[in-house]
């Protein structure tokens, strides 16, 4: 690889030392020129470290040398420094940082994820990971920075131990707000983070997160707000996320809590009648669960009974050109269920109107 070193690294841990040295110079680099110089040096050492970790240098580094570099990275707190200085780095260097994180996290020896184990002992670095996207939003090029910071979180979420630490951090709630208020990139990346956080490692989510009523209620509030107030993309993404979560068997806490609240049913019915076909179909997938619930609460039943005729009428022309057999079965079922509800007869109904219009 053709890149030059100001100081040639003699041992593997020199890569980490040189990088650490440069990263810590940002603090005191006050002029534009000095900052640029630190940036350039960081870019070089980052590329060098990346190639070394990936074994893309000649001669190929020995496993011992690679281990030595990892050791130095942990010892010098490089991962923390990289997160802190991510906004200071230039465009290509940030891509290298993201790649270095992914490579470190994947690194294993004797069936153990070494970096993951290290991070478990350094919860403040994990906390910093979750806070870097928020910091990114105050910087220029915020979308690009947010994506890099988000990518690092997504990589970390692949590992159950790190996912569990993150689930305990209240910072995660902020991603609901980012999902709603940010640019397209910020919004979709936040959804990706939330989706992965709640779907990859289902056991801790079920037993440690949704088992707590306070989390449950907050989650429902947050996702409802996205479904009610978001732009078109946010609405579609949040409906999809909610649907995928309530379909997960071990999240029955969430399912029960959701389908027993009349406010939730109202929101889903409103989305069911949205002009967007995709939103209609997405919310139908949630609506059907309300209908299928064998133990509907009184307020839920009341809403369905009161809207029995409207619902039947609406469903009659609902997505009639679909050929999806599953959907058609489900629709038929939903219609049958609603038909079996008692019909509300209005005491004052005036038969003379029948001939009227």
């Amino acid at each position: 690889m053709a890149f030059w070193w100001k100081k040639t690294p003699k041992t593997a841990s020199d890569y980490a030392k040189l990088l650490s040295e440069q990263l810590n110079k940002f603090e005191n680099a006050t002029t534009i020129d000095s900052r640029r110089k630190v940036q350039d040096d960081c870019s070089k050492y980052l590329t060098g470290t990346k190639h070394f970790l990936l074994g893309e240098v000649e001669p190929e580094p020995t496993p011992e040398a690679v281990d030595e570099l990892y050791g130095a990275i942990y010892q010098l707190d490089i991962l923390r420094d990289l997160l802190v200085n991510l906004p200071e780095l230039e465009f290509e260097a940030r891509k290298d940082v993201a790649l270095i994180f992914a490579t470190c996290l994947r690194h294993s020896r004797d069936n153990k994820f070494v970096t993951v184990d290290y991070l478990v002992t350094r919860p403040n670095v994990v906390a910093l990971m979750l806070r870097t996207p928020e910091l990114a939003l105050s910087k220029p090029n915020s979308s690009d920075l947010f994506l890099k910071a988000g990518f690092i979180i997504l990589e970390a979420l692949k590992y159950e131990q790190l996912c569990r630490i993150m689930l305990r951090d209240p910072q995660i709630w902020l991603f609901f707000d980012f999902a709603k208020g940010g640019s397209f990139e910020v919004s979709t990346e936040s959804f990706q983070i939330l989706t992965n956080l709640f779907t990859i490692h289902q056991k801790p989510v079920a037993t440690e997160f949704f088992s707590q009523p306070i989390n449950l209620q907050k989650f429902i509030d947050k996702i409802n707000k996205l479904m009610a107030h978001g732009n078109y993309v946010t609405k579609r993404q949040s409906v999809k996320l909610l649907h995928s979560l309530i379909m997960i068997r071990s999240y029955n806490h969430l399912l029960t809590a959701y389908i027993n609240s009349p406010d939730n049913l109202k929101l889903i019915m409103i989305l069911l009648s949205d002009r967007s076909k995709n939103l209609q179909l997405g919310s139908f997938n949630i609506f059907k669960v309300f209908v299928a619930n064998p133990r509907k609460s009184k307020p839920i039943l009341d809403i369905m009974v009161k809207n029995r005729d409207k619902l039947l009428h609406y469903l009659m022309s609902f997505n009639t050109d679909s050929k999806d057999a599953t959907f058609l079965d489900e629709k038929e079922y939903v219609v049958q269920e609603i038909e079996s509800l008692p019909r509300l007869v209005s005491p004052n109904s005036d038969p003379s109107l029948g001939t009227s219009p």
Binding site: E134, L174, V233, K306, S346
Partner: protein, 509 residues
Amino acid sequence: MIASTTLLPADTSIEPYGSHMNKEDARSETPSQLYDIKECVGKGSFGDVYRAVDKQSGNVVAIKIINLEETQDDIDILAQEIYFLSELKAPFITNYIQTFVEDVSMWIVMEFCGGGSCADLLKHLPEHKFPEHKVAYIIREVLCGLEYLHSQKKIHRDIKAANILVTNDGEVKLGDFGVSGQIMATLKRTTFVGTPYWMAPEIIARRDNGYDEKADIWSLGITVIELLTGQPPYAKHDPMKVLLNIPLRKPPKLQGRFTSPARDFIALCLTKDPQSRPDAAELLSHKFLNRPTWRGIGTLKREVDLVKILKIRTNYIKQPRFLVSDKVYATGASSHLQSWNFEKTQRLDVKKHKYQSRQQMKHPEIKSAALEQMSPKTEKSPISAMQSADINTPMAITPMTNATSPSLRHYNQEKDFDVSMGLHEGKVAKKHTQQIADKGLNYYRHIILYSFERIFERARSEDTKLVVNRLRHLFEEAEKSQPGLSEAFVEEVYIRMEEIKNYIVETSI
């Protein structure tokens, strides 16, 4: 240092949007406020490309508008494409600027190439092909783009003349990656509009993405043939048949009188085994691209200028597949197809309030839904749907309106949902007319005048606007001479609408 401020315990109250979000907020302005959309410059199966002008800077950009209602693809996939674009910055490619959501569409703002695509030039140039030295220039530039792309471990997936763009100065840039390419390559859709002539055999043979950047090199070889002859091989054949045949047949060969470096270059690109196919860097040193006499000839400026003149002469206009003005959430129409009855149960039995007893409402349980619909923005108003003014049928399906009238908004403060979302809770039921009047509702100002203003906005022709204005003045006069006339009028319209709706709901089941 930043870290010291961020590692504070995070359980303190979380303010969703700190001051730092303001910048993002400013950027989430609707794109139509930021950009002036000009003519359509290209169309794809999933969206059209427009020339547009940044209203603030005056910069010319290209905006690709993808209708997300029409693509069933996951938004996640499209988002991945956007991330892909945002990671690329190089002079040989059309650079990505930003993405917006408007109505149900994604607006992807890109660097603009005023000369159109090489496919455009092929179509309009009198000879419908390029001479070898021009092709060598184009391909050299494209290879620089591919070299950058492949060094990032990224694949273009859709190399063809239509995706090689030309600037006003005749410089070549690789464009249109990702967004259309990925969707096309997956072959998922039934509306398979793209043509497979450029696809590498390994893409077709192994559908589980078992291919690498060498697939671009194959497509590049096909593109060379396209540029030299005006068409890719087998262009006259049925695309699906070609698709099935590519992995089975021998690689296509360049037909006609061409130099041997050109033939050799193509043959190298069209090596069936991707392993032995050369990469971008190797091809850049090929003889075809580096003949001493051709060096320095560069750019397609002459072709670009010529085609511009030809286009003006033939009055050539691209018709977009989707109209930017076609919106799912059209202003003036309800954003929902059906309104529901969310009145609280106990309300069902209360029939004593003034309005009902006076007017003898027939179906009290529908009342709240009806009240939601007080602002008379009917979807099938005679103005925008003059031709289909069949009053009876549309009513059944149309909820007509949504209470977005600004004057009614402040009645719904208790709950967090928007009025425009149609979530009205039980409190809508409390909106008896008497209360409304108590809160200062002026029937003429808040309903009649408001409606006329909306109708005025929706009127398409000047004539209609004139008539609407005249009618409004007449109403104003009538209200002045007979105060309360507006109230009576609104009530009567409302009651009648209820009767009709109830009639239809009853008879249609």
